[in-house]
Amino acid sequence: MTTQARDEIKIGGLGASRKRVEDNRFIRGKGNYVDDIVLPGMLHMEILRSPLAHARIVSIDTSKAWAIPGVRLVLTGEMMATRNLAWMPTLSYDTQAVLATDKVRFQGQEVACVIADDPYIAKDACEAIVVEYEALPVIVNPTQALADGAPLIRDDKENQHDNVVFDWEVGDRDGTERAFAQADLVSKLELHYPRSHPSPMECCGSIADFDRSTSKLTVYMTTQAPHIIRAAVALVAELPEHMIRIVSPDLGGGFGNKVPVYPGYVMSILASILLERPVKWIEDKTGNLISTGFARDIYLKGELALRKDGKILGVRMHTDSDHGAFFSDAQPSKFKIGLMHSAFSCYDIPSAHLTARGVYTNKAPGGVAYRCSFRVTEAMYFQERMVQAAADDLGMDQAEFRRRNFVRDDDFPHRTPFGFLTDSGQYGKCLQVGLEAIGYEDFLKQKEEAKSRGRLLGIGISTMTEPLGAGNSREYDILGIKMFDSAELRVHMTGKAILRTGAKTQGQGHETTWAQIVAHELGIPADDIVVEEGDTDTAPFGMGTYASRSTPVAGAAVAMVSRKVRAKARKLAAHLLEVSEEDIEWELGRFYVRSSPETGVSIQDCAYAAYSNMPDGMEPGLENVAYYDPPNLTWPFACYIATVEVDPQTGVWDVLRFVAVDDCGVRINPMVVEGQIMGGLTEAYAMASMQFITFDAQGNCIGSNYMDYLLPTAWETPGWELHEVVTPCPHHPIGAKGIGECATVGGPAAFVNAVLDAIKDTGVRNIDMPLLPDRVYEAITQRHDVSGAPPVKMDDHD
């Protein structure tokens, strides 16, 4: 170990598993969440939601609500319309109702809201509102949406004559045709990725505080992207941007659920403007689960063109995605189906073609996110399920089949089948580390041996590389705003510092890891750096935290701003050492004279000089700001391997072992990275085993509370065995890549592949997630595939 590296761990720099500084307040119950904030004169808002999934609103009678003492305001769609706020634009260039005017289009849609002295009164008043509905036929899946004569959900839109949101394609149609014509074998698979929900522990909420005397609007809210919200309020509500302050305090998780703009935020803002008092809205768990941004809900028809020797010649995919009542995907790409076409990026496949169709249904809108870069989760699940099915169809070992098709280490930069550019990778090594860790050959023997005693063991592999870290600004924007990010660093005279970025931590640990990047670049101990995010009045403009973009973009900006500060410190050092800048060398935390290494000054000396002893003509102070526009996405990759045992009498399956090999490049804080991976794997396990939202024929949401929407606990969650391969990102200033989502993205297929491997002798090729025991049992005993969302009967609610 070099002296420098040793110093670096000591000061909490790169590679230090420094404890998370934010946890100090969280574990003491001293976090400051939106609901903890109490302002003088604050009122409370409750939302009345539609019990029906599709219905015309005949009338709304609010008179009884107004009559309840303590009620200050009752808002309906009609009143919103007089202010042109009944509808709002979505991030996907559609419109979404803030409060329903004409009809309701999903169960849980916002119909009215009440602002009152306390939340109990507001709730009582909501119950006193009488809404008369005229029920309409309900659509809950793409088949129904596309059927002839299907009722038109979006009759509010001019030129919308069916329920199609988009028809989109990418890739080489003709080349792919040719590849399939040359195939020895075509492997086909139809899959469904069920609807789920990010379900952060803290639901959404806001406190809008409009002060007439200053004309300033302050909104404390649960947002992963405060600056985007400010921009949206400025552009949509036409309030002057400098008079809007968005504050995102501590967040109890986000997972993408807190990127979109929700009606509740808009109503609390309007209510505060009308009443000139702070208005607090705190969503309840059911409201969060039934009305806010869901995830997935997409069907695939996939085909692989195969040569007998195992080479994949081409891939064809068609997706039908269910967007709910409004197309409000929160994703910044110009691709209608997000980054679905990042599928198969780790495989060397000459041709590929994807068609994607999106539909409206009578379900909650606002999808895409859930620890996933814009459909990457679905892309990698589809990919790895298709890969396993193809290996089985060929009768080839699943590890060997992958090995034969991986992009080779010396083949970068590599153009992926759908046209992305990957820059580095060691896919074969990653797989190898995984196979060795799980003891692949031994397990195969064990499995055969168990079979002879009637026990069903299986092993499933999932390997993938995924694009993380939007942008670059050429290809990624939100409402035209480019996907860069920012960091601002101010070093105080004693060498302590404050760092602010345009990202917004919600569990990722930015307060810990950003300081480590600064420590690495400047040699200032991480403990001497405070990190602040989430206040648009103080933070530099940034696009927020989701899609694993913080380390790739904001984290890069942190390194770059530190380098700018170091450049100025170097001038100060030259001045202090009385030599010219060219004669100065840098080592961690210290400048020294090249010819006399023992003569040096610390970064702290330079900081003090910046306030007390700067050379003539130099601006005082030691601070800077950097805006970073990444040249490319980052491409972490991973190999996940699960072994399972299936109980043939009940369909219950248990995970025996799970090995994860992640390559996220240089690890800033290994402990934080491992935390991200373990959390992601837990969510992967959740989706594979139990976590889903479904609807009955009337559009009633099944999964509207935690008795039905199952989050795994420590009890069920398997133990994770973590390994790493490190391939530094070639374009990131410190070689890091995104990691927040890899495990959620790549994990599910490993579980599903393992269960299917265990029951391979039945001839079953697919069970759609979630692999609830009854579905596995059905597959084993009926010897058929089990597809689609689990069935629901109306009278079976509990």
Partner: protein, 291 residues
């Protein structure tokens, strides 16, 4: 989530609680562990005018065994007390097996067995256990106490046999006449989940011969199911592969499951069959080992 307005009283004696129930005239609710009632309140599925918190009633937090082997569980005995109970561990295998499968550790710290019986959720675990054991509930009202066999106590989904001014003070498991064996198995999707299907089996034997049997089913009907025919098939002979298979089949037949998002009716029957078989096979094998 915000419940409707209610009045709150916390009496210090059973008599006071009964007087309050009479005052409430059917619009009052007793609050024990609150693990079923509070969720209903916050969802406004229940909006009682008066909430009578019985947690301050003295002397009801016991579970104890009489000299003759009768087990008594007071109204304020928590699930967690039963989970950690030395009495159950040594004397009552069906209850001991069920206790750690009820809900999750947090719920078990507050929830009560008697409250669970009163709540009469068809997916509640204790009602099956107490049914399989042939237990009863002791109710106290203005005119004193009466015994209600648990099979008559649960009258339907979320309905019990108590009069509006009665309080259930204890649950009683009668003294066994033979050696006790049994178990409880539950298929849940996740810890804290209600049963997709649950099976309680309780037997007593004299030598190897089964002298009494009870089998009750959770979550596979509109109320707890007492599978009496299945139990009968075990009585009068030693456990054998044949009687076990017969009991399992009869229990599966007694189930009245419905297809829902937890599984198909046929699947739930299969779980009942498998669980009856597994519990009894385990009992048989352990007695073989012992003998």
């Amino acid at each position: 989530m915000y419940p409707s307005r209610f009045r709150y009283e916390a009496p210090r004696s059973i008599e006071e609680a009964i007087a309050l129930l009479q005052q409430g005239g059917g619009e009052a609710k007793l609050l024990a562990g609150g693990q079923s009632l509070v969720p209903l309140l916050k969802l406004r599925f229940a909006s009682p005018e008066l909430l009578i918190d019985i947690n301050n009633l003295p002397g009801l937090d016991y579970h104890k065994v009489d000299p003759d082997g009768t087990i008594r569980i007071g109204a304020l005995c928590r699930h967690a007390d039963l989970e950690r109970s030395a009495i159950l561990a040594s004397r009552q295998p069906t209850m001991a097996a069920a206790a750690p499968l009820v809900a999750d550790p947090i719920v078990r710290n507050r929830g009560t067995l008697v409250g669970s019986l009163c709540h009469a959720d068809p997916q509640g675990d204790w009602a099956s256990v107490v049914t399989a054991l042939g237990g009863h509930v002791v109710a106290q009202g203005p005119n004193g106490r009466r015994k209600i066999p648990v099979s008559q106590f649960v009258t339907g989904p979320f309905q019990n046999a108590l009069a509006y001014d009665e309080i259930a003070v204890e649950a009683v498991i009668p003294a066994p006449k033979g050696t006790v064996a049994g178990g409880y198995l539950k298929l849940e999707r996740r810890v804290g989940d209600f049963a997709t299907a649950g099976v309680a089996v309780a037997i007593e034997r004299s030598g190897a011969v089964v002298t009494r049997a009870g089998i009750a089913l959770t979550g596979v009907g509109s109320a707890t199911i007492d599978a009496t025919e299945a139990a009968k098939a075990l009585v009068g002979s030693p456990l054998s592969a044949e009687t076990i298979a017969q009991a399992a089949e009869l229990a599966a037949g007694a189930a009245q499951p419905r297809t829902d998002h937890r599984g198909s009716a046929a699947y739930k029957r299969q779980i009942v069959r498998t669980f009856v078989e597994r519990i009894l096979t385990r009992v048989e094998q352990s007695s073989e080992k012992a003998g």
